[in-house]
């Protein structure tokens, strides 16, 4: 069953149509990659799904419920959580504090309860701390959990961004360029990490430039060009798809990960 259904979403910025009538399904438990050249509308599509920008038309359905028009935090609470390009984290907190704060939506205590440190609030706190430590250990950040985030190296920051998203216990995780700026070894580690997250039962949609990583990791791939969906299929199908090669890559097969 499709966990996420994107139905004919369009986003216009003035005269520019960034995303044009794009529809697709995301199946429970799969890794779906969205590829396309710069300006193809990939990131806009992400923002539309996570409701950071409202679509001009069309809608997004999650578990049979229309989520278009909800606030971003409400969508996160339902289980659709995005990460950001580059290193968007809370820089003036330690790695552990970042992940603890990201548990806020699982908070059982009320704001007043938190203020007066009721038993519920303290139980929350202990639970969050434990879960945050577990997530950091899982992503290999256990040794740096008390380091201020702004002092962490690039690779760790990327993983921390994912740790923050995982803390919300997402059902669908939207990863925005998780492999950008990584060398081969780092990419291999990140690919293993994404697969591991999927094994935890999280459905993954990712936007990515790194073709070889995309080809390795994806169950299915969606190709965009000028805001229009030009192809959808398995990595093998996408590799052979004429319109993808012509319109999007227009180059040798090598870049497609052969």
């Amino acid at each position: 069953m499709a966990i996420l259904e994107v139905q004919g979403v369009t986003k216009r910025y003035g005269g520019l149509t960034a995303v044009n009538n794009v529809s697709f399904l995301v199946e429970q438990g799969e890794i779906l990659s969205i590829i396309g050249p710069n300006g193809a509308g990939k990131s806009t599509l992400f923002k539309l799904i996570s409701s950071f920008v409202p679509p001009s038309s069309g809608q997004v359905i999650y578990n049979g419920k229309i989520i278009t028009g909800l606030a971003p935090h409400e969508i996160a609470r339902l289980g659709v959580v995005r990460t950001f390009q580059e290193t968007t984290i809370f820089k003036e907190m330690t790695a552990l504090q970042n992940v603890v704060v990201a548990h806020q939506l699982r908070c059982k205590a009320s704001s007043l309860g938190i203020y007066f440190a009721t038993p519920t609030a303290r139980a929350d706190e202990a639970r969050f701390r434990e879960s945050a430590t577990e997530i950091l250990d899982y992503l290999g950040l256990g040794t740096v959990k008390n380091v201020q985030a702004r002092n962490l190296p690039h690779g760790h920051l990327r993983a921390l961004g994912v740790a923050v998203a995982l803390a919300t216990e997402p059902k669908v995780l939207l990863l925005d360029e998780p492999f950008a700026g990584m060398n081969v070894d780092e990419t291999d580690a990140a690919v293993r990490m994404v697969r591991g997250i999927r094994e935890r039962g999280v459905t993954i949609v990712l936007v990515e430039h790194d073709m070889s990583a995309v080809m390795r990791i994806s169950d299915r791939i969606l190709a965009l060009n000028f805001g229009v969906k030009i192809a959808e299929g398995t990595p093998a199908e996408i590799r052979q798809n004429d319109s993808v090669i012509e319109a999007y890559l227009g180059r040798t097969d090598e870049e497609l990960g052969h």
């Binding site: 907190m93 504090q97 704060v101 919300t168």
Partner: protein
């Protein structure tokens, strides 16, 4: 720095912090009245500094969500008028109108804050600055309710509180400012404790997450708008309480009691003391209020010297006076 931060994070207080706070409280309640008790002038200056610190603590909360709030004067005015009107028209006791004034300001703050807090940076600062001016004009043109430019005068002094015939707090009478001073210090200590709880609880962490990145906060399910309004309302509450106190202290309130300059001052106290310290606004307010009074002797150069001192502080101590590291000095002495 790092160890201090982990201590704060765990909500635990170090022994040094406890001792420091105890020293601060006993200085306020015991040492100051003994030293300056006979000088109503000094007691009045200290009273002003204490309540201005309290009001600035509110502004400090809005800094923690990443907003530069220039509206605190407006909410002090709202609190002041609430107490003035309740006391002169409905004969409500000061002890009831004091919290009511806080709530009136908080509710108004929440209503105005909801749309306005979408703005960030200089836009938010500009609109809150206009708000201070707007509330002043509202008071000026409030007709019979606010009595316009004449203001509301002869506000009764706080009465006695008795429980079962036992007088807990005697009525504030005569020209002695000491009872007001004790009240001001009580407010300040309660305010400090309240803000400390807020800042060290997970609410404080949520507030700081908003300051650092609102989009990321929304993406992890934090209701950004709700927490912004919560922080702003808490700030306005403190503004309202401060305004109510001064209305009873001066026994009058005018539209010009709080102007844009006051809103700017509340902000300056926070800056000068240091934005990353809860004690920042307190240090800033006491230092500026007292130094301004001491400069009275310099007559016409008062504002000039004051200005130069301010600029010097901002230049050499951009993170506030509390960021001054005195440890190397102490070590050399040992």
């Amino acid at each position: 720095m790092d160890s201090a931060q982990t201590a704060i994070e765990a909500g635990a207080i170090t022994l040094r912090q406890k001792l420091g706070f105890a020293a601060f409280v006993s200085t306020l309640f015991i040492a100051m009245p003994i030293i300056f008790g006979r000088s109503p002038y000094f007691i009045t200056v200290l009273t002003n500094a204490a309540v201005l610190s309290f009001v600035s603590l509110g502004v400090w909360i809005t800094f923690s969500i990443g907003r530069m709030n220039l509206a605190q004067g407006a909410f002090a005015l709202v609190g002041g008028y609430t107490t003035a009107i309740l006391a002169t028209r409905c004969a409500v006791s000061f002890w009831i109108s004091l919290p009511l004034s806080g709530f009136a300001s908080a509710i108004l703050g929440a209503l105005i804050g909801w749309p306005v807090l979408r703005l960030r940076g200089v836009y938010f600062a500009m609109i809150t600055l206009s708000l201070t001016e707007a509330i002043r004009l509202l008071a000026l043109n409030g007709g019979d309710v606010t009595k316009g430019a004449t203001g509301i005068v002869n506000i009764p002094r706080p009465g006695a509180i008795s429980i079962f015939g036992l007088t807990v707090i005697p009525a504030f009478a005569g020209a002695d400012p000491l009872p007001y001073y004790y009240l001001a210090c009580t407010l300040l200590v309660l305010g400090l404790f309240g803000v400390w709880r807020l800042s060290t609880s997970r609410l404080g962490w949520v507030f700081r997450s908003l300051r650092q990145n609102e989009e990321l906060a929304a993406s992890i399910g934090i209701n950004v708008a709700k927490y912004r309004v919560m922080a702003f309302a808490a700030c306005c509450f403190m503004g309202g309480i401060g305004g109510a106190f001064f209305a009873a202290f001066h026994q009058n309130i005018y539209p010009a009691s709080y102007t844009v300059a006051d809103s700017v001052n509340f902000l300056l106290y926070c800056f000068l003391g240091g934005l990353s310290y809860i004690f920042g606004p307190v240090v800033g307010a006491f230092l500026l209020v007292i130094s301004f009074e001491l400069l009275q002797a310099a007559q016409q150069y008062q504002a000039l010297i004051y200005g130069v001192l301010m600029i010097a502080c901002m230049l050499w101590l951009p993170n506030g006076i509390l960021s001054l590291d005195l440890r190397p000095l102490l070590r050399r002495k040992e």
